[in-house]
Symmetry: C2
Subunit: 363 residues, 2 copies
């Protein structure tokens, strides 16, 4: 389904726009890391949809940016000639991209933002409307870089010098335009001169921790220790970690957090070991239209991710599988949420509104 993949030894960017208006979106194919650094070049919206669905690009913020570029590609390829056709096509493309993954709200946030930006333009030509979509995607892309830096800055003080940190899945540069959210906090603490040791959950079934987070940490020469997800409790019990920090895919009005499957269990285990549990995420991850985490749709993924996750069968052929991609961590387990707008602590509906603004509705 991909338009093409090319290898490169250049410094890797999670996603980049190559060229001008006739250009294309280039993504690192994260399913091939760390063994192979290859790129997917997308000049059609279908390629972007597939890349999101197949987790070639993943991580809530990165999905949002990829989708914004995807909107531009989808409208461009339709060659619409009048404003009505433009907005019809725009809605069609937005609806299509929205179907790629159901849990991360940044996807809907980005699509909505692009839609609103287009609607806000008064009487331009179809060509200008189209150009405006690309400009908006590029603006979101640039903003995300700044947001991640700010999240790192806001959160760095939470990490004591010499501490052991546990993280799950990948909330690093590969999950964003660059730098990350949970890993941004770690990177910023490192930049402050702190010595840290990071325990990395491998994050079954798709091993984003082993494949992506370990890779990012090693690139920055941060001591990373890979563990299986089932070892986190023991690592806590042995006093090897002083805090847990993860990203988020959706945060609702009461502070409940949807994130990669396994996050909820970690939060319960952290509480049992009296270890603070932090979440780092941009404002675009908040969905204040939902009052509780119970309302978040949880993506169910293919059984084959569990039974054939490593290129060969690891279970009986006829076994049933339950494979939820996310879980929901209740706000009461979360010590603080790190955002570019400031620290949300305690995690309460009121404090969330204070920090990220009452008018923000998420979708």
């Amino acid at each position: 389904v991909t338009d093409g993949a090319s290898k490169s030894s250049a410094s890797p960017e999670t996603l980049s726009w190559v060229g001008g208006k006739a250009g294309h979106l280039r993504l690192i194919d994260q399913t091939l890391l760390p063994g192979q650094l290859a790129f997917v070049d997308c000049d059609r919206v279908e390629t972007v949809w597939e890349a999101i669905q197949a987790l070639r690009v993943r991580g809530a913020p990165a999905i949002g940016i990829a989708a914004a570029y995807g909107v531009y590609l989808g409208v461009r390829q339709a060659n619409v000639t009048d404003e009505t056709a433009f907005f019809d096509r725009l809605d069609e493309v937005i609806s299509y991209l929205g179907s790629s993954r159901p849990t991360a709200v940044n996807l809907y946030w980005a699509l909505q933002r692009v839609r609103e930006a287009a609607a806000a333009q008064q009487g331009p030509s179809v060509s200008d409307l189209q150009d405006g979509l690309l400009e908006e995607a590029r603006r979101m892309h640039a903003e995300d870089r700044q947001i991640c830096r700010t999240i790192g800055h806001v959160g760095a003080d939470l990490l004591p010098d010499g501490s052991g940190v546990l993280t799950h899945c990948n909330a690093g540069g590969l999950a964003t335009s660059e730098y990350g959210t949970a890993l941004a906090v770690i990177f910023a603490a490192q930049d402050q001169g702190k010595q840290l040791q990071v325990f990395v959950d491998e994050t079954r079934p798709l091993l984003q921790g082993a494949r992506l987070t370990a890779w990012e940490l090693l690139q920055r020469r941060i001591p990373a220790i890979l563990i299986c997800d089932s070892m986190a409790a023991q690592v806590m019990r042995e006093g090897r970690v002083q805090l847990v920090v993860t990203g988020a895919d959706r945060i609702v009005a009461n502070g409940d957090v949807a994130n990669k499957i396994g996050t909820y269990g970690l939060a319960v285990l952290a509480a049992a070991h009296k270890i603070p549990f932090y979440v780092a995420a941009p404002r675009s991850t908040f969905d204040l239209s939902l009052s509780s985490g119970e309302d978040i749709p949880i993506e169910q993924r293919s059984p084959r991710e569990v039974t054939h996750g490593f290129g060969r069968s690891t279970a009986p052929a006829d076994v049933r599988v339950y494979n939820p991609a996310f879980d929901v961590t209740p706000a009461r387990y979360i010590q603080a949420i790190v955002t570019e707008c400031g620290l949300i602590q305690p995690v309460s509906a009121q404090r969330i509104r204070e920090v990220i603004g009452q008018h923000h509705s998420g979708t």
Copy 2:
């Protein structure tokens, strides 16, 4: 290192003694399941040692039985001619086999039992002493079958009809002579006509749950649902399981239980969800010489089990790995321990002594 492996479509036995005094030990090579049912034929002690170390035979009770046969093989191959040489070689073989895996106490229990049985024989010939080793191994083997049946019978009432059960690793027929410990409880409840649904943790890094437990359950037509270890908390939160039952590799005087890595985390999660957590294990798993779980040696295994667990690399080549094979669950998290001597409930030093007998020292 194996003497040879052969394929067969015969009904599989975890371990069997083939032939008479000149015979050999045949083991299912569990590292190849469920894709391939192959056997390792051991006629030398070195082959038994390698099979235990490499987890071709695994599960605390099965390790004990394999080791007992291994003692006979090791003495037989030495061709000793007098009693002194016999006992020297016996001690040498016992020490060697004891070095194969450090955590499961059944290994030491079995070796000690064989040693004591040999020492108890008054004035026989070396040939009779040697035959006595094989007889003792066969006796232990036969006893284990009966013990597992009894464990199932004792524990079956703990499982309400219609309940969801979560288990970790493999404490089934493949971990024993047949029938199992934790799975014996499930099998016995099924035999009572109860409808059960069993959630099976895949059990990284070596996937004994996905490979072995799912296979055993499907063979008995018990509904099995495979999950990643990181999904257990979510399955509990969704109300899908009413209890957890696992096996054990060593249980000490205060009731602390060493078992496959991930067990401790499950116990903490079960407590947080007010779900009872049960352990099923034979009397030979108890080591009353240790007062607390802190004293149990925890086997550390190769990083490659984590980074190359599926035949290909799933992490950066230079990443550090922490890979403890076991963890220790404090007695306070365990609702009851099911043994062939009866139910230990509450799990306390006093109740353990009452049920399994004060004179039993484990090693």
